[in-house]
Symmetry: D2
Subunit: 290 residues, 4 copies
C-alpha cells in the first residue's frame, strides 16, 4: 500500500514518521520542503507537488486549516488526480462544510474520501498514542484501519458520512473550550475567596473531575502559565467558530459555545493573541477585577 502524506507540521511530522517506521511505502510533501528532509533521509520518497503525491493508494492530509486543505485538494488537484479506488484521508480539524464538499468532489471523480481527525497533542502523535475519530464508507475505513492502528492507540468510528467525524471532533473541541471557560470562572471565584488554586485543582482532579482535560487546563490556569502556547487562542476561536457554523447549519443553538466565542474575542482584544487558549482563565480573572 503506497501512502502519500501531505502536511508535515507539528502533528503531521510525527504521524508520518510512525508510518515510515511501521514499514509503509511512504511519499511526503510539504509546502516548506525542508520539513521533509528528516523523513526523506529515513527512507521516504519526496513528491514535487500535491498533484504528484496524489498518485497513491492512500493520500493523507494533515494541514493547518480549511484554506490549506482546499488549496491542496482543488487547486493542487488532489481530487482529480487521485486514482480510482484510492482513498483520501483527511486528518485535519476542518469544517463540516469542507468535509461535505470533499466527499462530493471525490465521489464525482471516482475516489473515496474518509475523514479521520485525531485527538491528541504533538507528544501523543510522537508516541503513536493519538485517538482517531473517523467516518466514511465502511469498506474504506476497514482498509484504513492498519494505518490508524499504527498512529493511534484507539480508533472510534462514527458513521458512513465522512463529515460526521468532523462534527465529533469539533464538538470535542467545544467541550474542551467549555471546560476551560468554566474552570476560569471557578478559579476567579475561588481565588477571590482566598483559596489556593493548586489545592483547588488538586481536589477537583482527585475526585469527580479526574480527567486529562481538567489536569492539563486546570494546571495551566492555576499556574497562570499561558505561554508558550500549546494551542493558540486564535486557533481555539477558529474551532469554536467552526462548531458554531456546523450547529447553525443544523439549527442547533449552542449557547455555551457562543459565550466562549465572546470571551475569546475579549481575550484577543486584550492582546492575548499568542497565548494558549487556556488564557480564558486570565479573561475571567480580569472580569472579576483580579
Amino acid at each position: 500500500m503506497r501512502i502519500s502524506f501531505i502536511g508535515l507540521g507539528n502533528m503531521g511530522r510525527p504521524i508520518a514518521a510512525s508510518l515510515l517506521k511501521a514499514g509503509f511505502d511512504l511519499t511526503v510533501w510539504n509546502r516548506s520542503p525542508h520539513r521533509a528532509d528528516d523523513l526523506v533521509a529515513a527512507g521516504a520518497a519526496r513528491a514535487a507537488s500535491p498533484a504528484e503525491a496524489s498518485r497513491a493508494d492512500v493520500v493523507i492530509t494533515m494541514l493547518a486549516d480549511d484554506a490549506a486543505v482546499a488549496q491542496v485538494a482543488f487547486e493542487g488537484r488532489l481530487v482529480e488526480r487521485l486514482p480510482r479506488d484510492a482513498v483520501h484521508v483527511s486528518m485535519s480539524t476542518i469544517s463540516v462544510r469542507l468535509s461535505q464538499r470533499l466527499a462530493a468532489a471525490h465521489q464525482e471523480h471516482g475516489g473515496t474520501y474518509v475523514s479521520a481527525p485525531v485527538f491528541g497533542r504533538p507528544e501523543a502523535a510522537a508516541a503513536a498514542k493519538l485517538f482517531v475519530v473517523c467516518a466514511g464508507p465502511e469498506p474504506a475505513i476497514e482498509r484504513m484501519q492498519p494505518i490508524f492502528d499504527v498512529i493511534g492507540q484507539r480508533t472510534f468510528r462514527f458513521g458512513e458520512r465522512p463529515e460526521q467525524a468532523n462534527v465529533v471532533k469539533l464538538s470535542g473541541n467545544f467541550l474542551i473550550a467549555s471546560v476551560i471557560e468554566s474552570l476560569g470562572e471557578a478559579f476567579a471565584l475561588t481565588r477571590k475567596s482566598g483559596i489556593d488554586p493548586h489545592a483547588y485543582i488538586d481536589m477537583l482532579t482527585a475526585t469527580l473531575f479526574a480527567a486529562p482535560v481538567y489536569r492539563t487546563y486546570g494546571g495551566l490556569i492555576a499556574d497562570e502559565r499561558y505561554h508558550p502556547a500549546g494551542f493558540r487562542l486564535p486557533l481555539g476561536l477558529k474551532d469554536v467558530s467552526l462548531v458554531l457554523e456546523a450547529a447553525r447549519d443544523q439549527n442547533v443553538p449552542l449557547p455555551i459555545a457562543s459565550l466562549v466565542r465572546d470571551r475569546m474575542i475579549e481575550g484577543l482584544a486584550q492582546g492575548f493573541e499568542d497565548a494558549d487558549w487556556s488564557v480564558l482563565g486570565a479573561v475571567a480573572a480580569r472580569a472579576a477585577g483580579l
Copy 2:
C-alpha cells in the same frame, strides 16, 4: 468523644451509621423521628430536640438546605447551647452567607464552627467513600480528622475561614452543572448529525474526558434517563443560585452559571420539576427541535 448527628436524610443516615460502626458515642436527632430507629436499634442514643443534641463534643448537621440548618442552629438553639470548646461541623451544601453567619454566631457564644461539605452520592456515603472538603480553625479541623477519616476516602482542607469550604463545594457543583449543560449541547448537535449518542459518550470518556462526572451525566443524557432523579432539577437550581450569590458578593461574574440558571428555569417551565438535573440534556435537545 461524644458526637451528635442532626439530620438523617439520604446522606445523613449512612454517614451516621459509619460513625456508629466505628465505635463513636453517637446521639442522633431527626425531625421525623422514625428515621432514627435503625440507628437507635444499633446503639445510638436518641435526642428529644436539637437543643438536647447540642450537649456534645461535636455536633454534626447534615440537613437539606439553609432554612433547615438555620432552624436548628438558631431557633433550635444549637448555637447557644453548644458547650464551650465543642465543635459544630456543618456538612450540608449551604450558602456562603449562612456559613459566615454561623461562624460569627458560634464565635460569639464560645463554640467553634467548622464547615465540611462532602462530594459524593448516597452510595458513596454508605461505602464511606465520600470526599470531605473542609475549612475552619486548624486545631478544630485536626480534632475532626478522625471523624472525616471514618466517613470519607479523603479530606481536603481549604483555609481558616469555614465559608471557604462552602465556596469550594458550590464551585464544584457549578462545574458539574457546566458539564451537564455543555454535554447537553454537544449531544444535541451530534444527535442531529446522526451520531449514536452511546458511541459518542464512550469515545469521550475513553479519551480526554475520562472522569466520573462525564461518565455519570453523559450516560444519563445518552440514555435520556432523567427519572428517577439522583439530584432533582430544583436542587440543582438552588445550588447554582447559591454559587451566583456567593460570586456576586465577591463581585465575580459567572456567565456560564447564569446561562445554566436560565436553562434550568426553562426546564422547570417545561415541567421537569421531578427530573434529574441532567434533564438539561432534554432542554438543549428541545431547543434544537429534537
Copy 3:
C-alpha cells in the same frame, strides 16, 4: 382625605410637595427628620414615627428598597395600625415578593394595599410629570386617582393584584438596562470602526430609536459621562436582580437580564460602584480593548 407620606428622598420630597401644593391634608415622616423641615414649614404636619403616620386615610411609602419598606410596614407597625378602609400606596420599586407579602398582611388586618411605582427621575417628580403604574383593588385605585393625577402626567392600571404593578415596573427597568447594554456594545463596535459616537447616537435617535431612553443613555455613553450618577450601578443591579427573582418565581428565563447582571457585576469589580448604570458602556468598551 388625610394623607401620610413616608420617605422623603430624592423622589419622595418633590412628590410630597406636589400633594401639599394641591391642597391635601399632609403628614410626613422621614428617618432623618431634617429632610421634612421644608415641607413642615410649608404646612405639612410632622409625624413622630411611622406608627403615628399610619393614622390616615392614605399612607404613601416612597422608600429606598425592600428592607426600608418592610421596616416601616412591619417593625414600624404601619400594617397593623392602618385604619380599616384606609389605603397603603407603595410607590417604591420593590420586589414582587414583598408586594405579595404586603397585600396579604394588609388584607389580614383590614387595610387595603395598592402598588403604584412610578417611571421618571427626580426632575419629573418635581414637575409632576411622573408616569404612575398601578395595580390593586379597583375601588381603591379609583379613590387614589386624584392623588395620581396630582403627581403624574398619566396613570396606567394593570390589574387587581398589587404585585402586577411591580412586575410591570421591574420589567420596564429591565428594558432600560437592555437598552444600555445593547447601546454599550454598539458603541464599542462603531467607535472601534472610527465612527463618531455623537453622530451615531444622533442618527439613531432621529430615526427608529427616537425615544427618551435612547436619548438619555445614548448621550451619556457617547459622552462617557458616568458621573455624577443619576441612578447608581448598584441600584441597577438591585433592580435587575429583582426582575430575575420575579421571573424565576414564575419559571420565566430572562437571558438578557442574566447577561446584563453579569456585566454589572463586572463593572462593580472594576470599581464603578459610584457610577451611573450607563457605565455598562465603559464595561463594553473595556471588553473590546478600548
Copy 4:
C-alpha cells in the same frame, strides 16, 4: 447624470421609481426582467446585463445579499466596466468585508465606491422617506446627495471609508434585534403574571420607549402576529451574523448579539423559517412554558 439601477426587489423598485419621477435619466436591470416592466413603461431604459448597465455616471445596486452583490460586481463585471470617475453606490445591507473588497476593487479600476445602506421598509421607500446612511470619499458623497435627497427624508454621513456605513447599518439592525429579544422576554414575564400585553406595550410606548421600533415590534409581539413577515427570521439571522463577523474582525465581543443569534437558531429549529423576525417573542414565550 445617467443613473443605472440594479436590483428591483421590494426595496429597489420604489427607490428606482422615485428617481425616475424626479427626472433622472434611468437605466434599470433585474435578474427577473419582468420586474422592470413598469419602470420601462414609465420611461426607464432597460439594460441587457449588469455589464451594460455599468456604463453610467452612477450605478446603484440594491440586491438581496453579499452573494448577489458580488455576482453583479465581479462576475457581472460592474467593477471593471464602470467608467473612470463614475460612482458605484451600494444600498444593500451587505457585510463589512464585502464593502471593503468593493472599495479596493473599484479603486484599482479607477472607479469610486460609496456605501449607502438605508433604514426603512418598502412603505418608506415608496414614500421616499428612507433614512440614508452613507460613507465614502467626501466629493463622491457630495455628488450623490441629490440622489439621496430624492429617495430619503434625511442623509447621515459617517466617514471616508465606505464600510463605515455598513458598520452603522449592521449595528442598527443589531439594536433592533436586541429590542425584539428584550421585548420578547419582558412579554413572557408580564403575560405569565397576568398582565394584558396590549396595555403593557401601550404604556411602554407612551413613556420611555416612545420610538417606532418599540411600536412596530411591540405591537407584533403583543398580537402574536408573526405572519406575513415584514422581514423574515432567516434574514434577521443573516444580519446578526454579519454584525458578529464585523465585530469579530475588530475584536469586539457582542454578547447580546450572540444571545440573539442563538434564539434565532432556536426559532428556526422550531419551524419559524417563514415568520417575521419578531417571532423571537414566540421563542421566549415557549421557553417560559407559555
